[in-house]
Symmetry: D2
Subunit: 341 residues, 4 copies
């Protein structure tokens, strides 16, 4: 931590600060210039409340130097983590595609999609049972019933299932889910993260749409500090001024996270772009940048009345995209996760 | 809703779409140009899934025209709402200052601050019992015990109490809280919002740091659609590229919300700026822009060892700021909320 | 400047760095921790290339501590600057409203608007002769001819004239302009800024739509370092994710700039909001936050055929807004600039 | 264009608007709902001033439907454009790497770097002669002299040269430059763009750091509408809230631009990330997303005193990166541009 003092900082207050920091086992060294005095603080500064230091009248600014995350930090855990999801290994050379519909709508729908995405090469089934919707008037998902349908689709295909949790109070319902997703809007739902830290389930933690990479790792830290090391990170686009795409995929986050953390990282090109024709090129970019997997939405079927001709296109599009994905994954020296049944 | 078709859209698919929309009681009118065909849709389009329409192969883009919020919309409720918080009226000419510490730390602390802010003119006491902290290693608040201390401070001063809830499972503990705050990170914690819609408590809904004004109103809609009309909105700064201030106070949100909604709106200049010396000018700006109140953090006392000389300054600063606030509130023709005891 | 070293930084390279910094008259002090070593650098670090330091293999990150601006920095010039614009004093208690049309369209138009805004209390006339337009197919302004019409309007009313320059090669044409505006898109047109530093004309420097406050001051620095101290800053909204308003007025920039710099700062609520009904409340907020003036667009008259009933509204709206402005300016203890003729 | 009317819009004003639009050869069709009336406008709406329509008292909002760019629009020019840069073809299957130092510092430096990057496989030499620097106190480049040194490096290697122009008044100096770069800060320097439209030189147009993709295409339009079709686009990162990287590379911009425009698009991973260790993965992502080339900064040599051990690393890093690039370019079915001499 670095503390920049105000010009003419009161000597007595400064002594008090230095003494108090000493009592917290923080070593302080001052560099005194004409206009600026810099205090370098070393030791375990993660315990120090940066806002409290900032509020002192002698302080101009405070900057944190050390990464505030530990369990997820590659410095303290140099080797890649491998997360086991119902026998599938995520990380370290294995590449997984999680595919499925935005919302689960019925047994036939989810089983048919599960079979289709499996035959195209997906190794996990995603599907929304509890749906976070901006509008209270929009369909909120089949909830508990949706989870049961997911399990039937798993039975039919062997695919591990991935689905989103929206409240710690639903945790019991998720006991038999293979990979529990924390959605972007809940990335800083700290009460939920704490509860997830007390189970051993693999967690798929999506980056919030205006959260920094450091905040993503701090949310992983909540889960890991609770005792659950099974965290997979997911980049799904951030909110920027650009409106051509729904969000802006932060492709740099992939190599950046690979450098700073040992956790696997996957990419969701569907939510990042909001349009189906961008999924293929963004998936390719994610693989090339080093991602460990992809989460791809196979579009909801439109109402029957609308479906003539249109309906059958999207599974076919997914199949086409999977061909590109498999080729590039192999070129990059990774292996596709595979489910036998 | 406006649907822009792709060039050479398939005639049969278009007919299907128009017929299906008709079955949903949506009227459709087409404007056909050389390069573009525009479909104008009128009726209750809030039931139509915009993503589903967007996914059709004949569609280029879809734009929503009608505001998707109803209960909070001034069009359907032209008069200002007045929210009653333990006898204090919020909205329509009354101006309230909610003040208090970031975190509740002990009985003496909260009672002393409560007395101080009341004597300076605050009409509600804010304080954090459940604290959303980016780091799991930071102090997480006194939680239930903090709520009890808030009530003691209310007993001592008569000030209604405002404090943040972080999970629907804590609702029982908040039964005796006067104004329940939903923090910025939970603005789209929809499971929590739904539960708050089932009680009648006044809710202070803070804007998320990367949420649009429309999304803020949609979150209010969750609470109101559940049957609870007692919502107060709060602008507390948004996340932008600028790093000179912690967040960027979106001052335009105040008059914009006043035009589009009938709900009261208050401003939190402390979180918006992150530095105490900006609280005064931002508070003034908020009043001038038409806000119905302010939420101001009276800084936590630093550790005893650090407090010589520094400690006593912040209540004094608050008192100074309140003088400016009271003057401008009167100039703007509003009255300060007042608590007699 | 603070340099954070990588773990296990090469000792010889570190010595080279420290010696080289010493040769640049920079004092270095190291604080050595287990995981981090911090170098505090003091002296005139504005000469040090931060990117070069960053590129060294032993360096993890570099942070600048000292403000990189000097001429505009209040630390070195504690008193407010007062800028003289054709006899009008801008800054220190005087409040100026610059009003006029987006584009100058003809002699009658500009003279009529000039008379109208003067009678409502404006003290300068703004108008666009050279127009920066996103589209090459949009009207690009009357250019040189527009400047001549501005001068006629000045003759008719005595109002000093403010208009935008888009290229250093036009400088000669602007010799008789009273306040030369640098538009948001040109805030980092450094070749233009350098040329403006060589004249003595007052310059109105608008903040770029994605430029930080520090970058605004660095652009002021370009002009001032060239020998022209007559700079007025202008906040006009920044680009964020919010689309309800065209831009987001960064109201905090006003008190922040007042603290960090001695230059006057005005606000343009018209461009910040993009809609006329937000101009009044944003103008009020700007005054309350401490601005030294406002730039307000009096909307272009729509084509004759469209103007029945509509046309006469906007000058009236401006007049109404000026009443609020004058009241609040007086309440804040400032005086309106006035032009006698 | 779609115009949404206010509720209870004045009938006479509406007739005036419809009649006036008719006189502009715009066809209007109204869709009338209970709360909303939508006007669909078709015809050449690029001539209509959207701000003027927006300012009418009967109008609630206006949305542009048709893309406002024409010359750069793939709809009107379905085949990929190929731009000739001194005999090198950019676009349609050819992949080019432009490499070189941030600033040109001397003859030996630029010639040595030119030889190094050529031998690693670069097909153009980039280098800064006129340098846009945030600070007036930073090195501003060798300017005209730098251009001469670039030409010597071209003579020595045969590599076409790419360098940035900062003012239309320097155009004469750039007559012998092969590819003239317009920097991010000048993307909306419209006077410069107009001048570049009057020459036939290939132009490398970099996206501004807060400019939308549509604005980038509109700036290309300025050049093309002037008669110069030789535009290459460049994505170089946008400004967002994330501070882990200097900018956020908008990887989606590549496939998006490929869909909407026929112009070649290259990527600058050096400026996008600001750190050398991210250049390789971002370059890979760009290739996979469909880019036509890369611009890579080979870092400035640090001062001699600092260079022991460090200095020789960066050309070697570039060579290593080029191996990955060449492999992936071949995998994607493209060919590397090559300079024989």
């Amino acid at each position: 931590m670095v503390v920049i003092l105000k010009q003419n900082a009161d000597k007595k207050q400064l002594d008090n600060l230095v003494n108090w920091l000493g009592s917290q086992e923080i070593k302080v060294q001052a560099t005194v210039g004409v206009h600026t005095t810099i205090l370098g603080l070393v030791g375990d500064t993660s315990k120090i409340d940066i806002d409290m230091i900032q509020s002192l009248p002698i302080v101009e600014t405070v900057k944190r130097i050390q990464e505030p995350y530990k369990n997820s930090n590659r410095k303290f855990h140099p080797l890649d983590s491998i997360i086991d999801v119902r026998g599938q290994k995520v990380g370290e050379g294995m590449f997984h595609v999680m595919a499925g519909p935005c919302s689960i709508e019925g047994e036939d729908q989810i089983i048919n999609i599960a079979k289709a995405v499996k035959s195209s090469g997906a190794s996990m089934l995603r599907g929304g049972a509890f749906k976070p919707r901006t509008s209270p008037y929009a369909f909120q998902g089949l909830r508990g019933e949706g989870l049961e349908l997911m399990k039937k689709a798993r039975e039919a295909t062997g695919l591990p299932i991935v689905t989103e949790i929206m409240s710690a109070s639903h945790l019991e319902l998720f006991e038999d889910v293979d990979l529990i997703q924390v959605g972007a809007r809940d990335m800083q739902n700290f009460e939920l993260l704490k509860e997830l830290g007390h189970c051993k389930k693999p967690i798929l933690l999506k980056r919030g749409l205006a959260n920094t990479i450091e905040e993503l790792l701090m949310s992983a830290e909540y889960i890991m500090a609770g005792g659950n090391p099974n965290v997979i990170l997911c980049e799904r686009g951030i909110r920027t001024f650009e409106t051509a795409t729904r969000n802006t995929l932060d492709i740099s986050a992939i190599p950046y996270l690979k450098e700073k953390s040992h956790l696997p990282i996957i990419v969701d090109p569907s939510h990042a772009s909001g349009v189906s024709w961008l999924v293929n090129p963004l998936a390719m970019a994610a693989i090339a940048a080093g991602a460990d997997g992809l989460m791809i939405e196979v579009h909801n079927n439109p109402p029957k009345a609308l479906s003539d001709g249109a309906q059958s296109l999207t599974p076919a599009q997914f199949d086409e995209t999977m061909k590109s994905i498999k080729g590039l994954v192999a070129y990059m020296g990774k292996s596709m996760g595979k489910v036998e049944q």
